[in-house]
Subunit: 275 residues, 2 copies
């Protein structure tokens, strides 16, 4: 399996603190050593850093950790390969363009039976189930809305319907963004946290590091952090209910809908308790 | 205007030496200070580094310069903005997927009159003429060959026909790669160099730095370097004739076809001699 990290804000914010803890899990404090990646929206553009090496030992991850890139939407992923070789083309997040917007997708899970018919507008470059799912999602949105991007709520309803078709097939935790909203599907495990005024001191779980957010924020800032496993040990993380799709916008969870819970959830829980 | 740098090899090679000289031109030894980018193919995957800051002062460029990424095809670009704001979404190279392959494109020039009809399969995210041209090229290939990527020579012939439609409209130097071949169009100015056995010592023009390639190569290695302006001052760079499209494969110039020379070539030459 893999781990996901997402951020959605109302003002451009850097993710250096959260990424510091997340990076450690890629081969140091956890086992996700089969590559990592992070995508930052900046305006309409995307900066994507990918490395098939473990993030804990990657010079590129070191740069990302120390280089404050200000972004409204960020998606990061550390990989423990289940399907597809360890290679650059199989490293998440994946990026495609639809409606003149970049879309970014990262997946934690396994949907081996999902073999959709892809018509050619979006085709996988690598051989993961995750990139196949992403191509199918974008193809389905394109077919449904043709050349006109829908309003945010209509998009969320469509994503809900599409996600629900897959949710019963396996483990399907994902993060998806078009630069405006961040969509998060909790199939088995995903947590989130909203940082807002009054800001406090946060302490990482994976490294003895603190930051006092009251020194680096303004009273109107709102930041949503979404992670497979909470990154700090002194903040009020909320566990998402398995089988829920969320829409985050400007640092708030603005919508939530139920999906079919993963049939493999109980197996996943068993695996966690025995490992 | 901008400057282009490309590399096409028969064995994965790093571009650290050439990039060291090229990076200096982004705001230090030359005026191209409106952002830079570099794309490396690794297998079927692409690593893309973009920064709207000048490359001479960019921490990401510093990483690229010191981190030997082995690649068969590389495209880099330093920008002096002519159309489109200085922003991440307007920073070259651009990447899209067609036929389950990533395609990378960078442009040096100006084709303001070219306003093609784009059907939605590939749309620009930013507002440069360059990204618009790239979308049109991929759209045209997709329409022509439908879902089946053509053989290399057929692809080259199609690119020649498409390039020629635009070549008479303005300055249209470009580099394009699908990870297998590197296509280079010289509209006004582009030079290339083939490094092969016996390898020699090379000396950069923009920094007092040498490398002895005989120490870091094997006798079968072949590397083609393509650059707007030669990067070294002691190697046999060849000036491409304005109005030529080239295909490089495994470190060799394997095909060349004439296109319509840019009508603005003489103007560009006047500008160079007076600046």
């Amino acid at each position: 399996m893999c781990e996901l990290l997402g951020m959605n804000c109302n003002v451009p914010t850097d993710i250096c603190f959260s990424f510091t803890g997340f990076q450690k899990r890629g081969g140091e404090t956890s086992i996700h050593a089969d590559g990592w990646g992070i995508a930052f929206f900046e305006g309409k553009g995307v900066r994507l850093f990918l490395d098939p090496k473990p993030s804990a030992q990657s010079p590129i991850a070191e740069l990302v950790r120390n280089y404050p890139i200000q972004s409204l939407n960020v998606i990061a992923h550390i990989r423990k390969a289940t399907q597809g070789l360890v290679s650059l083309e199989n490293t998440h997040p994946f990026v495609r363009e639809l409606w003149g917007q970049y879309w970014v997708f990262a997946h934690n899970g396994n949907l081996p039976q999902f073999q959709p018919e892809l018509y050619g507008a979006f085709l996988p470059v690598g051989n993961t189930d995750s990139e196949r799912i992403f191509c199918w999602l974008l193809q389905s949105l394109r077919i449904r809305f043709n050349d006109t991007p829908p309003a945010r709520d209509v998009l969320f309803a469509a994503l809900h319907e599409l996600t629900d078709q897959l949710a019963g097939m396996g483990i399907f935790n994902y993060l998806l963004s078009n630069g405006e909203c961040l969509f998060a599907h909790c199939s088995t495990e995903l947590n989130y946290l909203i940082r807002h005024s009054p800001f406090n001191v946060a302490h990482l779980k994976d490294e003895d590091m603190t930051v006092d957010f009251s020194h680096v924020t303004t009273p109107n800032d709102r930041v949503a952090i979404i992670a497979t496993v909470p990154l700090t040990d002194n903040e009020p993380w909320q566990a998402m209910v398995p089988g829920t799709l969320w829409m985050f916008h400007e640092g708030e969870a603005v919508a939530q809908l139920a999906t079919t819970p993963s049939p493999i959830k109980s197996l996943a829980e068993d695996l966690r308790t025995t490992n």
